[in-house]
């Protein structure tokens, strides 16, 4: 009787411990720095160093646009008369209200996204900067405004000092126009659809995924952004190119260079 009672108490205590551990883990949410085959995920903010020209060399964070038919290495580039860097071929960027890019969460465009004169109002990632007379800026949105595709928030993995990033949600707003400038690129979801087709496709995707074990069609394509990271100092560089697909600047290429310091912090509440 005594032995049985002791056993029961021990079992109850073990179960309670397991339950408590489970509850604690659940309350803790996701691991802020999950490690996968791609490396360790960085969760926090990529604080941007402002772009500048020092001794004729461009440093910090910047962007440039290649004309249709040109190449990233040799141009021809759009010459932004409002930029002093490299004869306007490079536009310098400054960190916005959030200091830079939040990883694992979105920094969506405000509503309305544009001022009356076409200036972009998004000011969290970078300060709106003049580009041919009109201010442009950047935002990251759950549904990309140009391609209408659902995209992941900016996600960066580090593996032995090398960065690989999903910046498919990187969207530019300029003069009442929206351009996806992400890497990889979202697959466009703007093709004409018959009434009800979109819902039917969603139902089919669900059925195919659940009963046919078929993977959903990929929503992103192309290369990821890449870079390097110094774990001791937090210094990072992230670079990518992105072809504009659709709209007035179809086939123009954006070349992006982000530089700064990674600051670790909690995962954004809207990211999960």
């Amino acid at each position: 009787m005594t032995i049985r009672g002791t056993t029961t108490r021990c079992l109850a205590a073990a179960l309670a411990t397991v339950a408590l551990l489970g509850a604690t883990a659940a309350c803790g949410g996701k691991d802020p720095a999950a490690t996968t085959s791609r490396g360790t995920e960085l969760v926090g903010v990529l604080e941007l160093t402002p772009g500048s020209v020092e001794g004729g060399k461009v440093t910090g964070t910047w962007f440039r646009m290649v004309q249709v038919g040109g190449s990233v290495k040799s141009g021809p580039y759009m010459k932004n008369a409002d930029s002093p860097a490299e004869g306007g071929e490079v536009t310098l960027l400054e960190p916005g209200a959030s200091g830079g890019v939040r990883l694992g969460g979105y920094q969506s465009q405000p509503r309305p996204p544009f001022a009356a004169n076409g200036d972009s109002r998004a000011a969290a990632i970078t300060k709106p900067v003049k580009f041919f007379g009109v201010r442009f800026s950047i935002s990251t949105n759950p549904t990309d405004p140009q391609t209408k595709t659902q995209v992941a928030p900016p996600t960066v993995y580090v593996d032995h000092g090398k960065l690989v990033a999903d910046l498919s949600s990187w969207g530019v707003t300029w003069n009442n126009q929206v351009f996806n400038q992400g890497a990889p690129k979202p697959v466009s979801n703007t093709a004409a659809k018959a009434p009800g087709q979109e819902k039917a496709e969603k139902v089919w995707d669900w059925v195919a995924g659940k009963y046919l074990e078929s993977a959903a069609a990929p929503s992103i394509t192309g290369r990821s952004a890449t870079g390097r990271y110094d774990a001791k100092t937090g210094a990072f560089v992230l670079e990518w190119t992105s072809v504009i697909e659709g709209g007035p600047f179809n086939r123009f290429i954006g070349s992006w260079h982000l530089e700064g310091t990674f600051r670790r912090s909690g995962r954004a509440p809207d990211a999960s």
């Binding site: 004309q67 004409a192 007035p248």
Partner: protein, 330 residues
């Protein structure tokens, strides 16, 4: 004693019992087969011919151009062109009066070289767009263009069902089968007139032809090049050209161009973007128009009359498909 001998009685044969026989109900096979064939054709053809995608593309094109074909938008585009034209004239004047040397402002030099051609192309583009506006409005007035394939397929299914019912179903359901076929026919005949499809599809065919030279990848590419020339020129006007002191009207016109540039570039970008993003939709609409080109008729123009014709044929078949008793011979 004589015995009474009875001879056998010969009775005449009884006449046959006459029973009233019901006149046989005759199934009319031909109208039922016509309904079945029409039904299958109406169901399969829109799917096989990609009508759903083409109609959706046409609807998306119509929706996308809506904001660019309002009277306000067209007036704004004209004002933009006037601003650019005045700016180009003013720039020439300043170059002459101020003896601006070639090469000092490469963006403005290029604009001066190309201004006449750019103006010609932009004027042509806006002329095409403005000329297309009345037809566009008629096309936009068609109610539920992208739902036409659904109407056709549903009518086809109804006719096929009625045909099968008339051929194989119980005789008591023949009446309802005919009613179903008639209802489908009425829908096909009535929709074009309710939605003003004949006028709209004629306008659509004209619109498609009128915008064909504009709706090409080459035209978009040229517009992009012109935009780049303009954007570089205005950029220099707004910055480094400030060193050159133009005066009088030329100064006013150049300042007006610089001030209006955000609005002008937004208009141009929006229009070029709408054209570029609807090239595939325009091709789909052209394919729809070409569907019956083989018999020398525009597919868009023929569409409403195909619906009406099919509806009339089906209703005629349905009306003759009602089962009737054979008349008794007297």
């Amino acid at each position: 004693m004589s015995l009474l001998h009875l001879s056998p009685l010969e009775l005449p044969g009884a006449p046959p019992v006459a029973r009233a026989v019901a006149a046989p109900v005759r199934r009319r096979r031909a109208p039922a087969v016509v309904l079945l064939v029409l039904g299958v054709l109406l169901t399969v053809a829109p799917v096989a011919g990609g009508l759903f995608a083409k109609a959706a593309a046409g609807q998306q094109l119509v929706d996308a151009f809506g904001p660019h074909l309002t009277a306000d938008a067209l007036d704004r585009y004209d004002a933009d062109l006037t601003t650019l034209r005045n700016g180009a004239v003013a720039l020439d004047a300043v170059y002459r009066t101020e003896h601006v040397e070639h090469g000092r402002f490469p963006g403005l030099d290029e604009y001066r070289r190309k201004a006449t051609a750019i103006d010609g192309r932009a004027t042509g583009l806006l002329g095409s767009v403005r000329a297309a506006q009345p037809d566009y409005l008629r096309v936009a007035a068609i109610g539920g263009f992208d739902r036409i394939p659904f109407l056709v397929v549903i009518a086809g299914l109804a006719m096929a069902y009625a045909g099968v019912l008339l051929l194989r179903g119980p005789r008591r359901r023949a009446g309802s089968a005919v009613l179903i076929a008639v209802a489908a026919s009425v829908a096909l005949i009535g929709y074009p007139f309710v939605s003003d499809l004949p006028a709209g599809s004629h306008a659509g065919e004209r619109l498609q032809r009128a915008l064909a030279p504009v709706m090409t990848a080459d035209a978009v590419r040229q517009e992009q090049e012109d935009f780049v020339v303009l954007v570089h020129a205005v950029g220099e006007l707004d910055t480094s050209f400030g060193d050159v002191p133009p005066t009088g009207r030329a100064r006013r016109d150049l300042l007006a161009l610089v001030r209006a540039w955000p609005s002008v570039s937004s208009d141009l970008a929006g229009l070029i973007g709408a054209i570029n993003d609807n090239l595939a939709n325009d091709r789909a609409l052209a394919d729809l128009d070409d569907l019956t080109r083989g018999v020398g008729v525009s597919g868009l123009v023929a569409l409403p009359w195909l619906l009406v014709g099919t509806g009339v044929l089906a209703s005629a078949a349905a009306s003759t498909a009602v089962p009737r008793r054979r008349r008794e011979r007297r």
